[in-house]
């Protein structure tokens, strides 16, 4: 028996946008080797996402970031975005940036939001409430690694 070719729905494509899929398939920072000074692991018990986030902090600046673990496409893409976005950011600024990013992920009124281009793929996640936790996990784990340690 053959499977009918069928169109992937627009809703699916809205969540899994091309840019997000690109981050998922060729992620920045995935399993990169750095001289990390900080690391932490995070899990989403409900769905089984597991991630380790690590960073190299030198003289108050995040000079490199990486992540590893077995997580879903949304979590991986979000971690990849985070690795690009937070490189060379000063530790002092990072808390505000992360709070802002999390508020973007949690928002359903994405039309009114202004956000950096690199964060754009995360805007769609707010419309899929059960996936917000996946997108947020890397950022919270980063906070645990760098700010709470």
């Amino acid at each position: 028996m053959t499977t009918q070719p069928s169109k992937i729905s627009n809703d699916a494509l809205q969540l899994y946008q091309e840019v997000l899929l690109k981050h998922h398939k060729t992620p920045t920072g995935f399993e990169v080797e750095i001289n990390n000074t900080h690391s932490a692991d995070g899990v989403n018990a409900a769905c089984g996402d597991e991630i380790v986030v690590y960073a190299q902090v030198e003289a108050g600046t995040i000079t490199a970031l990486g992540f590893s673990g077995d997580s879903c496409a949304i979590c991986r893409a979000s971690a990849s975005i985070m690795c690009s976005y937070l490189t060379n950011v000063e530790v002092d600024q990072v808390e505000a940036i992360i709070e802002h990013t999390i508020s973007i992920i949690n928002s359903t009124h994405t039309d009114e939001l202004i956000c950096a281009e690199v964060l754009q793929p995360l805007l769609a996640v707010g419309k899929f409430p059960v996936r917000r936790q996946c997108a947020i996990l890397p950022w919270r784990t980063f906070v645990k690694a760098v700010l709470e340690s």
């Binding site: 028996m1 499977t3 009918q4 069928s6 992937i8 729905s9 809703d11 699916a12 969540l15 899994y16 899929l21 998922h24 398939k25 409900a46 769905c47 089984g48 996402d49 597991e50 077995d70 997580s71 879903c72 496409a73 949304i74 899929f128 059960v130 996936r131 996946c134």
Partner: protein, 407 residues
Amino acid sequence: MSIVSPWKQDFPVFNADAYPNLCYLDSAATCLTPKRVADAMYNYQCYSHANSHKGLYYLSANVTEKVEYARTRIAEFLGASSLNEIVFTSGTTESLNLVAYSYIETKITSKSNIIISAAEHHANLLPWQRLCQQYGASLRVAPLNDHGIIDFSQLVTLIDSDTLLIAISQSANVIGKFNPIKQICQYARQNNIITVIDGAQAVSHGNINVDDLECDFYAFSGHKLYGPTGCGVLYCRMGLIEQMRPYQVGGGIIDNVSYQSSHYLTGPLKFESGSHNVVSIIGLLAALDYLNDISWQAINAYLERLSGYMQKRLAELNFIHPIVRSGDSAPYLYSFQMNKVHCHDVASMLDIEGIAVRAGHHCAQPLHKTLGINASVRVSLGLYNDHTDIDRLITGLTNTYQLLKIE
């Protein structure tokens, strides 16, 4: 192939004004509710509700009668010899905790060991784990064979003269195949070992006979039998109740109380402190009636045929892998992983298409670790499913793989 459910219209969730396109493949988590069950609960609550077992007036006496009638019917359903062996609980979880704290805790010592299987739901692991930790006893885990079934010969090697209890599922919630529990319970009885059977998944197959199985305890939940949540059952073999103490105390379970001491009732009521969840019990009774009217033979014939079709179609997808080897049996569920696509993405993509499946560790984290994986996707069947649900699932999985695969 055309396999069409004759019962789908009995479930109002598929009505035009609810979710006509719902493809519900998560009956192992909870079954959808037939109208007959919902109506029975509504009618009871509107027109007959009162407190059971307490009031002397007509309305209350009537409710008591209904609850006791439900107990009789459940005893029949389980093949128990008496209604006095049937305790109402809030679900499998409470039933298992009840055995742990009303009975096993009174017997356990630091020398004891308890045997479970590698596939147990957390509900049939945590109570024993905690007791073992509390009393310094040991928890032994019987391994599964390649097909995901408890290996009897390996289980036997774990047994010694200090084995107090064997607590296993008749059918585990991630694997869905039937374990050789009759063989295990008979062996246990010959060796004076207590047996607890978690029947949460097996119950939707009917044809249970606790006498024939020779188990001491059997637990299940009403909501996995097309009834409501909030009502479960614990079968306790005759004679055991008298050796057990209530682990939760309060109104309705005593025949004599002073400020300093109490004397508990005999029989199952001593475990049913507080007010009964009558509306749920009524719902469970209506579910039993509904299923009996269809007949277990018809139910199982239909679901086995549909399951065969599901297994065959899924086996055709070379990008998914069952978590244990499939075999001759056609359990009503199938757990798998997709090549390099996380389970959560699979469930999300299917959800967007209106297909409800379970993804994660399904409350069986140690089993997933034993199998060397973090999570899986589980699809499971109920009376309302038909071949179109399977076809939609196959299309959804194919699309998911196309979109998310990593070359």
